[in-house]
Symmetry: C2
Subunit: 349 residues, 2 copies
Amino acid sequence: MFNWEKNLIDIEPYVPGEQPAGDIIKLNANENPYPPSERVASVIREFDAGNLRKYPDSNSSVLKKAIADYYSLDSANVSVGNGSDEVLAFIFLSCFCNEKPIFFPDITYSFYHVWARLFDKDFRQIPLDVDFCINPKDYHEDNGGVIIPNPNAPTGIGQGEGLLRDIIEGNTDRIVVVDEAYSDFGEYSAVNLLGEYENLIVVKTYSKSRSLAGQRIGFALASNRIIEKIEAVKNSFNSYTMDMLTLEIAKASLEDEAYFKECIDKVKKTRKEAAETLRKMGFVVMDSQSNFLFVSHPSVKAKRIFSELREKGIYVRYFDIPRLENWLRITVGTDDEMEKLLSEIRGII
Amino acid sequence: MFNWEKNLIDIEPYVPGEQPAGDIIKLNANENPYPPSERVASVIREFDAGNLRKYPDSNSSVLKKAIADYYSLDSANVSVGNGSDEVLAFIFLSCFCNEKPIFFPDITYSFYHVWARLFDKDFRQIPLDVDFCINPKDYHEDNGGVIIPNPNAPTGIGQGEGLLRDIIEGNTDRIVVVDEAYSDFGEYSAVNLLGEYENLIVVKTYSKSRSLAGQRIGFALASNRIIEKIEAVKNSFNSYTMDMLTLEIAKASLEDEAYFKECIDKVKKTRKEAAETLRKMGFVVMDSQSNFLFVSHPSVKAKRIFSELREKGIYVRYFDIPRLENWLRITVGTDDEMEKLLSEIRGII
């Protein structure tokens, strides 16, 4: 090792999940099986590339206003970013500034502990109960802030207003973040609580419900005071996180509510049918409020199903970690994709 | 103040520079006056929006290979990001990990000290000499790493290989970053030194020379060992910093070398002519290796010229900070824009 190498950060290289391409059925990344709105396609087609010589609006004002209107909030309650991952990273930097551990579930989105480590924040992973559920009382203990995903991943379990209120009211002196990456496929969003709790942040993404994983768009909704600080960090990190095309695409997607609802409804219908079929095959299937199913078979090992499906060109997600070693996370695809998946699974078990 | 507000970061909200729009002559942000390559326009026009439902390649492999080929390097020597600002932020996080102050010039890109503060890194701003030049010996003192822009902004002064070698050889135990945001308009790039010095990082952007400020593309070139760490931080912050459209646009721009050179040559020619005219009017004009001119008039205050131009709808950049209070930074526009600018200046002085 050369002396200069001692200046490099000591961090485990985080390896992003596998993203296979080619002629496969890809049910491993919770991507939407339907394309984004035709308005998105048309905004791209008609975009004047000559404009790109100039910087975009660093405040993303037009998009913030559109998102604020959509949720009946004010622009000052919105911060947008390069995927909800960037927004969450800025929240970790700006809203958990104390010496106490950040609380989040032990089984959850795999990035929370990565951000905590990157920014040198203490954290505690709170075990889910035996049914993979969050016990709100666990989050009342003194902490440095709370982040919970609702619905949770990879379980797909969604919690209602009662649990959310319980957690927020147990944390009036801290910031509570609800990561709603999947909530558009569920029955409850904490957006309705923003007016009541100034220490609440709701984070959302275009990646799943708006079929725009490839374009990287996420946002946070919160009180002015919190948004100001998230924006201060954003503006100290990169003035222009949102490029011109992304700003227009994000706005266009919001304007096509009918198509948005249609896709959500199709995913929900397919989810219900696939869950029923899997249960008939003997699988335990968690009630899903998301665009994926979390399933386990009492006699056939998840890892075996995962590997055999993969050989057939069908990719689902397997987690080789404690408590999850016999579960699979299956993204809800089109009816056709699910039919092929279910038929292969039938052959395996 | 509520108790929960104590968890928010204590940071000055950094305010991005003014980006006026409308029917004005905009020479205040070092944007390129020419549109990006026609290949960029065609990539956008022909892009299949349906692909956006999927995540992009988190490793940006195709783009990294294209950039590596362009500079006769290997993909393992390239890290790409959402503008060079994001790349530089990751470098501050990953490559200056020690207790000593990061050294950079006192008059330079205004973001270096913002990143240092955001990530809680000590820093020292080294004064430029009386001619606004970097004295390499000032950077030999014990430090936590060095970042210099070459050419520097807002002076436009570019340094050659000698000065770069002097600084790097005085810092064999630290990382040295050369920020080449403007070097495509100059005569020297430190890319040729990468093979010799494993502790050197060269950072570049598409914002200026490739007319793509609106699309947010930047990259770092360095030894594998450094790139690994920048990528570890990038992958711990946001797996997908580059969206699908941006990846394709960035590659397309690289493929049109003829147009790239043509635009650079036009900017250089206009820069030379404008500098000559300004000198004839009595201005002191720094020798520029960038796409802007740094000028001062011995008898007419810069602030007055700035304000009067603004009233006429011509925006240049004025810095109300010590040593720069009588200087203007004027982006090189089209010949037509420069003619209007020069004619207005003639009227003012």
